[in-house]
Symmetry: C2
C-alpha cells in the first residue's frame, strides 16, 4: 500500500509562546506549509497553478490538538489528499511529536481560483487530479460549516504590513492569530485547543479595519467582519 | 587564523512579505536566532545563563541591508564576538545571499542580567569570557545612541499574546514589527532599510497599551512609550 508523504520540522523559539510550547498559529503554519510543499512535489503547487493564472484557496480547516509540541521539539507531519470533487479537494494531516506519538491532526478543504476572473475553477481540469488521492481514513471529522455568533464581545484589528502574504492579502494564519489574541491569558495558559474549525469566507486587504465578534466561553465562536460588515472568517474552538 | 562560525537558513514564505522578500523582522529574527545558537555552542547561551539565574539582554542593534534576501533564498550568517567589557559584549553578523555576496550585516550589544535582582552583571564573571572573542573588523559602525523624536505622528499598539516570548515579555523583533507596520506601503515597496539603529530600553508586558511617536521621512526616528510614558525603545531608519 502507498505510504503517506512526510515532512520534518523543529519548533523554533519564534514558534513558541511564553509557555515554551508551539502556538496554534505556528502549528497551523507548519501544516499549511506542508500542504504547499507536498502540492509542489505532486506538480500541482501554487507555483504550478500560477503558470495557468490560478491559485489554491483555503476554504475550511479543522485542527485537533492532543498535545501542543514543545519548543525545540522535532515534529513530523504526514499528509495526503483523500478526495477531489469538481469544487473542492480534501487534504489531511497527522502531526507526530518527537516521541512518535500523535500530537495533532487536521482536515482542510481547498478550492482552485482563476486569478483574473476571481472565480472558482473545476478541479477535474487539473492534469494531476487522478493521481492526487490516497485512500486512508480521515484523521478527524470534516471542518464544520459555522454560523454567525451573537455579538457578546467585540474587538478590532487594522490589517497591517506584517499581516500580508505574497498575494498582498492577509495570510490565513493571521486570522487565527487575531482571534487567539482576544482570548484571556488564563485561558491560553490552562486550556487546550482540542478542536478548531475555521471557515475562510473572504480575502482581507491592507489598511482594512476589521471587527471581531465573539460569544461563548468553553466553545467560543468568532466572526471577523470587514469594513462593509461582511463576514470574512468564522472560527470556533473547543477548549478543554 | 580562526574562522567565523556560520549558520544556514532559508527564507520561508512566512518570512516573506507581499514583494516576496524577507521582512526586516524576519531578517532580524534570523540574526538574533544565530546569536542564540552560537552562544549555546560556546557554552554561554541563555540556557547556560538560566542555570545561574541570569539571562542575556539585547541593549542595542545596528542592521544594514544591502539587498533584502528573496523568498526561498538560502542565506548564510557568519557571527563572532569582538569585544567583552564588564558591562557589554559586542556580537557581529554578516549575512550572505545564495550567490555568496553580502546581503546584510549587523552589530549588536548585549548585557547580562540577574533575573531575581533585575540588575546587570559583570561579564568578566563569565567563565567562557576569555575564549569568547575573535579579532575581525566590525562589519558596520556600532549602534548609535538615539534621542527622543518630536511627536509629529502617533500610533498605538496593545501588547497581545502573540507578541510574547518565553520570558513573557514582548520579543525584541516585535518592536521592529510594530514600527515597520506604521510605515506607508509605498515606502515599504520602494525603499530599502539601508541602516536601522535600535536602542532597547525597557521590557514590555502583556496587556500594556503602547504609544509610538515618530518624526522624519527618509530618516525617521521612533520612540515607543509604555502606559507610564517611559521610553521602552527608540528606533531610527535610513531609508534609501
Amino acid at each position: 500500500m502507498e505510504k503517506k508523504r512526510e515532512y520534518n520540522y523543529r519548533i523554533e523559539p519564534r514558534d513558541s509562546d511564553f509557555m515554551k510550547r508551539a502556538t496554534l498559529m505556528s502549528l497551523a503554519d507548519y501544516i499549511l506549509h506542508t500542504a504547499g510543499e507536498d502540492a509542489d512535489r505532486g506538480g500541482f503547487g501554487v507555483r504550478d497553478l500560477n503558470m495557468r493564472n490560478a491559485s489554491w484557496v483555503l476554504v475550511r480547516m479543522a485542527l485537533e490538538v492532543v498535545r501542543m509540541p514543545a519548543e525545540y521539539e522535532r515534529i513530523r507531519i504526514a499528509t495526503w489528499v483523500s478526495d477531489v470533487t469538481r469544487a473542492m479537494t480534501t487534504r489531511n494531516f497527522e502531526v507526530f511529536g518527537e516521541d512518535g506519538t500523535p500530537a495533532a491532526c487536521a482536515v482542510t478543504n481547498w478550492a482552485m481560483m482563476d486569478l483574473s476572473a476571481r472565480r472558482m475553477l473545476d478541479l477535474h481540469s487539473l492534469r494531476a487530479c487522478d493521481s492526487m488521492t490516497q485512500d486512508f481514513p480521515l484523521p478527524a471529522a470534516l471542518p464544520r460549516r459555522l454560523g454567525t455568533p451573537d455579538a457578546e464581545r467585540e474587538y478590532e484589528h487594522d490589517v497591517v504590513y506584517s499581516d500580508l502574504d505574497f498575494n498582498c492579502h492577509a495570510n490565513s494564519v493571521k486570522y487565527i492569530q487575531w482571534v487567539v489574541d482576544t482570548l484571556p491569558l488564563e485561558v491560553l495558559r490552562e486550556k487546550r485547543f482540542a478542536r478548531t474549525d475555521i471557515n475562510f469566507l473572504r480575502e482581507v486587504h491592507y489598511g482594512e479595519r476589521l471587527r471581531i465578534f465573539a460569544c461563548g466561553a468553553d466553545e467560543p465562536l468568532f466572526e471577523i467582519r470587514n469594513g462593509s460588515g461582511e463576514a470574512v472568517c468564522r472560527l470556533a474552538f473547543e477548549l478543554v
